[in-house]
């Protein structure tokens, strides 16, 4: 960038006293320009983010039946009825919500650590100096993140079908693959079955929480859900790998060399020097991962619609079907808010757990 010295502008600047003194003319225009420039974005965000939330809040405490304007006289205030039938009253609505929460919980539990670990591993390996084909590998790992969920879901539907690619691979290795998207057995139940526990012990089956027996809560992700988990990890690890790569590139080489000179092995270097410096990025990746995995909708909509036996039902998809298919708009909106609350709570919890403690900072 060329400096301004020696140009007529600079000469003028040198002559003029303190050009940064606030002058009504430019500053006034600046304020107006500032508002004008941000106005379109603000209007759009207000109209299509804030207003929908307010509207949904009204619908979730009303009995709107889905006809005409919810703000007209037709919809009446019913207080917390929708929320109570989802959370406190024993019935199908609560059962479905709890099932969907259980399913999504296992999905999050498996996807977030797997995708974070895989992304970190790939980023560390790709960060080596003098790596041949780095660009090729980076592109290969990131490419699935670029494609649409519809296209990926179709490919995975094909690959995980009963006679599909994955089962062909498994049988070439000598085993028989399950009928992936039709198998509702939870992984934990399958594991317990192999260990000899073939049906629910009375203690777990007869007692429960919020309408689901403990045995049901402890089912683990179903085989069908596992296929969706693989899909999620495969699709999103590339994006997070790029984030980790960026952060790794920003670690100055001197820091690593200093550790080397101190005699640290590669593993020690990674654990004690690199990982702590990646903390902010790790934080960001975990937050984004949590927010994303609790909202899984597209894949369920395209592949399984909650089947088999509602083991791939997620709160986002349940909210959609409750409103659009079952005409229960109030309940659908209430489910969306419950989901919002869960995401906010978990993000806050994660911030709390991973915060920089003053004692071991630095």
């Amino acid at each position: 960038m060329t400096t301004a010295t020696g140009t007529p502008a600079a000469a003028r600047a040198a002559k003029r006293p303190a050009p940064r003194r606030p002058r009504g003319g430019i500053r006034g225009h600046e304020a107006a320009a500032g508002w004008l420039f941000t106005a379109p974005v603000l209007v759009l965000l207000a109209l299509f983010l804030v207003l929908p939330i307010l509207m949904a809040a009204w619908v979730s405490v009303s009995d709107w039946t889905g006809q005409g304007n919810p703000f007209s006289g037709g919809a009446h205030f019913v207080g917390a009825k929708n929320f109570s039938s989802l959370l406190t009253r024993d019935g199908l609505a609560r059962q479905d919500l709890m099932t969907s929460l259980r399913n999504n919980f296992y999905y999050v539990l498996l996807v977030v650590p797997l995708q974070t670990a895989l992304a970190l591993f790939l980023a560390i390996v790709l960060n080596r100096r003098r790596l041949a084909g780095r660009g090729f590998f980076r592109t290969a790992y990131y490419f699935p993140s670029v494609t649409s969920s519809v296209a990926i879901s179709i490919v995975f539907l094909f690959m995980f079908s009963g006679g599909g690619v994955v089962n062909a691979l498994i049988s070439s290795a000598g085993g028989t693959g399950p009928n992936w998207f039709a198998d509702p057995d939870g992984l934990i139940h399958i594991l317990l079955d192999k260990l000899g526990v073939h049906s629910a012990p009375a203690a777990l089956a007869n007692h429960g929480l919020l309408g689901q027996s403990w045995w049901d809560w402890l089912a683990g992700p179903s085989v069908a859900m596992t296929a969706l988990i693989v899909l999620a990890v495969w699709t999103t690890s590339g994006t997070f790998m790029l984030m980790f790569l960026a952060a790794l590139q920003n670690i100055p080489a001197e820091v690593e060399e200093a550790a080397l000179i101190d005699g640290a092995s590669a593993w020690q270097r990674t654990r004690l020097v690199v990982l702590p410096m990646l903390r902010p990025t790790l934080f960001l990746v975990l937050t984004l991962g949590l927010i994303g995995t609790w909202q899984v909708f597209d894949q369920v909509y395209i592949i399984s619609q909650g089947n088999p036996a509602k083991t791939t039902l997620t709160p986002a998809y349940l909210s959609y079907t409750t409103s659009f298919n079952d005409q229960q708009w109030g309940q659908g909106a209430a489910i969306a808010f419950i989901l919002f609350a869960i995401i906010v709570a978990l993000t806050a919890l994660q911030r709390f757990v991973l915060r920089e403690r003053k004692a071991d900072a630095g």
Partner: protein, 420 residues
């Protein structure tokens, strides 16, 4: 001043983008017109018809019929095949722009009738007494006959004739009761093929309940009897067939539905409705099969299920009279026979019964079930409950029928309670 001009230009550009997209807002675009209701005179349409098509044959048949009506009456009709009929009807109502005429299944009918969204025109349509009583019952709510059934199907037992003779069976061996069905299915389960396949939801399993003398919902939808001993016994029978390996659900056969499993000869027999004809003709033309009436239950009770849609007209429609005229045209005996020839359904009018049986002698078994066809399960506000019932039935092989049915009894009772 330069900056004012500049600012104006920016504002103008932003406005231009919004205006451009707004200009394309009136339903136009690259294709034809979208389904916005016209605001013409009350009886001159144009009418928007939303259908849930089973394929190209049905769509073109309905479009041809609509064109014929338009020519005859001068009322323009626009037929749209929905991708997700239930969702689109629901969105139409929520947007205040429902289609003028739309396919309505028995389950959604209950929901919309309850909220007063439908126009009860069926008693004023032409010859309402001509419709089969079971169909009238499916589309009556609170004693009022709401909408005209457009056609219907029942379940029959389709048998692959090549597999049948290869197993050494003759037409005399066609099963007429449960024991015979079990025996025949066992004989036909060989090699990689299973004897029988059925749909894994209530539309594939409930007929067994009725054949055993059980029942699910009373006719007035005010009592539920899911957990009766006859129902439990019926489900135990189906479960036994599953555990013996002579009956498998389509997902276990890597098929999307039972017709596909039947067509690929993964199963030698299937219990399926009239729609099997169109599917077999287009996808599996080389499979020879024959349809027979369903076997009776242990005490000789015959039962099958009926599946039907009606022509729904919204209560707040501005084209009610024109819509009723269109429905009269589409539900006439002649037009229903044309639909039957195009995509294999049965007419909903009894007056053309013989005409249909003469035209489709191979499907006589389906119509024979008219005398004992039970309406499909439907309850206002019960869509979620029914789909929960379906997902539990899909796991029948490993479930306890008594527990399954008593859980369903609880759920359906709760919905009935809410409806009082």
């Amino acid at each position: 001043m330069k900056s004012t001009l500049g600012r104006g230009a920016a504002a103008g550009l932003g406005a231009a983008i919004l205006a451009l997209t707004a200009a394309c807002s009136s339903g136009g675009g690259f294709g034809g017109s979208s389904s916005t209701s016209g605001s013409g005179g009350s009886d001159s349409g144009p009418l928007n018809v939303l259908i849930g098509s089973s394929g190209a044959a049905e769509t073109s048949a309905v479009q041809a019929a609509a064109a014929a009506f338009a020519k005859q009456s001068g009322i323009k009709v626009n037929v749209v095949a929905a991708q997700n009929l239930q969702q689109q009807v629901s969105q139409g109502f929520a947007a205040g722009q429902p289609a003028d005429v739309f396919y309505l299944d028995t389950s959604s009918f209950q929901n919309y009738a309850k909220t007063g969204a439908l126009y009860a025109y069926a008693d004023k349509a032409s010859d309402p007494g001509d419709f089969y009583p079971t169909l009238k019952q499916s589309f009556s709510y609170d004693g009022k006959f709401y909408c005209v059934p457009k056609d219907w199907s029942t379940l029959g037992l389709a048998i692959n004739t090549a597999d049948w003779s290869a197993a050494g069976l003759t037409p005399a061996d066609v099963p007429t009761n449960w024991d015979q069905l079990e025996a025949v299915a066992k004989k036909l389960t060989t090699g990689g093929r299973v004897g029988l396949t059925i749909a894994s939801d209530h539309a594939g399993i409930d007929e067994f309940i009725y054949q055993n003398g059980g029942s699910l919902l009373s006719a007035d939808k005010k009592t539920a009897s899911f957990d009766s001993p006859q129902n439990v016994a019926a489900l135990n029978y189906v479960k036994k067939l599953l555990s013996d390996g002579v009956l498998k659900f389509p997902s276990a056969l890597n098929a999307g539905w039972n017709g596909e499993a039947f067509g690929k000869n993964a199963a030698a027999m299937t219990i399926v409705g009239n729609w099997i004809d169109g599917a077999m003709k287009s996808d599996y033309p080389n499979v020879k099969y024959q349809v027979y009436p369903l076997p009776a239950g242990p005490s000789g009770t015959k039962a099958t299920l009926s599946f039907t849609n009606c022509w729904g007209i919204p209560a707040k429609s501005s084209h009610k009279d024109a819509a009723v005229k269109l429905v009269d045209f589409l539900a006439s005996g002649t037009q229903q026979m044309a639909f039957a020839k195009a995509f294999g359904v049965m007419p909903s009018r009894e007056s053309v019964k013989d005409q249909w049986t003469a035209a489709f002698p191979a499907d006589a078994a389906f119509l024979a079930g008219a005398a004992y066809a039970q309406p499909d399960l439907a309850l206002a506000g019960g869509t979620q409950t029914i789909s929960d019932y379906d997902s539990k039935l899909a796991q029948l092989a490993t479930a306890d029928p008594a527990a399954l049915l008593s859980a369903e009894q609880k759920n359906f009772q709760a919905v009935i309670q809410q409806n009082q």
